[in-house]
């Protein structure tokens, strides 16, 4: 018996999220007293997962696995999981992992728990803590199948080194042809995505118009952060929908979330609640965001943000 993780890659490197999933998988394997294996696609240095406690990496190098499709990636994971007699599979909560998990759940006949935020309370039966009501509550869920899939909520467990020597097993799987065809992928390069970023800088209606967005972009550039916006801002077309964060937009689980001129409607807060540290800059001291934030500045964004950028640059230079 072993725990298997799906370690996601991008441009022939592991994504940062793969190390969090490996760290979770290591701790779970220790709870169960078993080995930790990984499956990874198209990565140059597959053995680096050893840093986080992975003992064996099943590596598939195949152009058929890009761009991502459920049929190809799912079949590959399924075949390795079956061949290894895997009972516990751990995935991240990226868009692709959440897309894939239900398919694997049916084909592996495994119970699936998404949004898992902590290690299991018990392993026989498996009992996990999950976020629900868009981060306004948690529940404790018992999985009543002997096989399980755990979807770890992004940035909930963190990365923890537990060095092992990982052996890499080059693996081949017969991949089915796809009826679903990816015809194009628009992924702007050089931009930090909201999902992958440690820091997110977000702007709301208080910025008065799209022409003022350089404030958000400059602050984000200074911090190496992704940019985001509130729902009214994307509804008015000031910013693209892909930047809208909140209940009906993208979820945010960054280490630091800075909200500028965002009032903090309940739907917005629901979507960003999983962020660790929240900073609000708003000229209205009554804005609901101040009740949800860790740090706040009452002041005009048009003076506070340029000052903050200047001081951050000085701080980084020192």
């Amino acid at each position: 018996m072993a725990v298997l993780i799906f370690a996601e890659t991008e441009n022939r490197n592991y994504k940062k999220i793969a190390f969090e999933v490996a760290s979770y998988g290591r701790a779970l394997a220790d709870q169960l007293g078993c080995a930790l294996h990984a499956i990874a696609f198209n990565v140059d240095d597959a053995a680096t997962l050893g840093t986080y406690g992975v003992e064996q990496v099943f590596h598939i190098d195949s152009p058929s696995l890009e761009p991502f499709t459920i049929q190809a990636s799912g079949t590959a994971i399924l075949e390795v999981a079956k061949a290894q007699g895997v009972h516990h599979l751990v995935l991240s909560s990226t868009a692709n992992a959440r897309y894939l998990a239900p398919w694997l759940s049916i084909h592996l006949e495994a119970a699936y728990a998404s949004n898992v935020v902590a290690l299991p309370e018990s392993t026989a039966p498996l009992k996990v803590k999950r976020s629900c009501f868009t981060n306004k509550a948690f529940n404790y869920t018992t999985l009543s199948s002997d096989k399980s899939i755990i979807g770890v909520a992004n940035n909930s467990y963190g990365t923890h080194e537990a060095p092992k020597t990982a052996s890499v097993v080059p693996t081949e799987v017969a991949l089915k042809t796809n009826s679903l065809k990816v015809t194009a992928v628009d992924a702007p390069t050089g931009q930090v995505s909201i999902a992958d970023s440690d820091v997110v800088v977000s702007g709301g209606r208080g910025l008065k118009g799209p022409e003022n967005w350089h404030l958000i972009e400059d602050l984000a550039a200074t911090l190496g952060a992704a940019t985001a916006c509130s729902k009214p801002v994307s509804d008015m077309g000031w910013r693209p929908h892909s930047e809208h964060v909140g209940q009906t937009g993208k979820p945010v689980a960054s280490n630091l979330y800075i909200a500028i001129g965002v009032s903090g409607a309940i739907q917005h807060l629901a979507g960003i609640n999983a962020s660790k540290v929240k900073v609000v800059i708003n000229n209205d001291p009554e804005a609901p965001f101040f009740k949800a934030a860790d740090y706040g500045v009452v002041g005009d964004a048009f003076t506070v943000v340029p000052n903050l950028i200047e001081k951050l640059k000085a701080f980084k230079a020192s």
Partner: protein, 248 residues
């Protein structure tokens, strides 16, 4: 073209979240239930298919009789027929299996579920249903066009957008972008009157078993007070973020 929209009956976004019976049940006392927002984006897209491409639109929910007002609202918005599978919605797997039992009898060309419900956030029913039926699945769907049994779609991915093509039948996970907030249909009086005459069929449960069970709920510990920093003292903010919060 026959379209099924799967509807989840969820507490209104602004509801207070509380639990009763030793934190084992959601407290629905005084809570207004609504169509899950992601499902409503999907329903609106389905109604456009009805208006422009003569699609027949059905809606379905798995739940007890208390879910019926939300189904009536879907009928008032324009769906032609509603189904309620008569059993509690215990977990995503059980809901998907109940839905699959119905779909196997009805041969839908397109099945729309929300990308996730705003209460349990499982994000799995559409994907499980597609896998059970052996249909293709596109979630986080922000565009859908159908012509001659082929769908062209766009999926929001981390850091971009993917464009796809798939044959019908197909399952999609709907979200904002598929239609916009302003496109949502507010039922008029005529729609509400007509909805009373439209069929709402109650189907027996297929008696599937859940694979997960919620033992109890917990609310996060109350948050501490915000630390306010003077707008003329931003060095203190940087210092706090660096030394106290350790995030920069």
């Amino acid at each position: 073209m026959k379209v099924l929209v799967c509807i989840s009956n969820v507490p209104d976004t602004t509801s207070k979240i509380n639990f009763v019976e030793n934190d084992t049940k959601f407290d629905s006392e005084g809570v207004q239930f609504i169509i899950n927002p992601n499902d409503e984006f999907g329903l609106t897209r389905a109604i456009w298919l009805q208006q422009k491409q003569q699609a027949e639109v059905h809606v379905i929910t798995v739940g007890e009789v208390s879910c019926e007002p939300v189904l009536r609202k879907c009928l008032a918005i324009g769906a032609q027929k509603a189904y309620r599978i008569d059993c509690p919605a215990t977990d995503g797997n059980a809901v998907a299996r109940e839905l699959a039992a119905h779909c196997k009898n009805e041969s839908y060309d397109l099945i729309i579920a929300g990308r996730e419900s705003i209460d349990y956030n499982g994000g799995m029913v559409g994907g499980l249903l597609a896998a059970l039926l052996g249909y293709d699945y596109v979630t986080n769907c922000i565009r859908l066009d159908i012509e001659n049994s082929t769908a062209t779609l766009s999926r929001e991915i981390d850091g971009g957008i993917e464009h796809l093509e798939a044959p019908l039948p197909l399952v999609i996970g709907a979200q904002k972008g598929l239609v916009e907030e302003d496109d949502l249909i507010i039922p008029n009086m005529r729609g509400i009157m007509q909805a009373r005459q439209k069929p709402l069929e109650v189907l027996p449960s297929a008696n599937v078993t859940a694979t997960t069970q919620i033992d109890r709920f917990e609310k996060p510990a109350p948050k501490g007070e915000v630390q306010l920093v003077d707008e003329n003292d931003l060095d203190t903010l940087i210092e706090l973020l660096h030394n106290e919060a350790k995030v920069i």
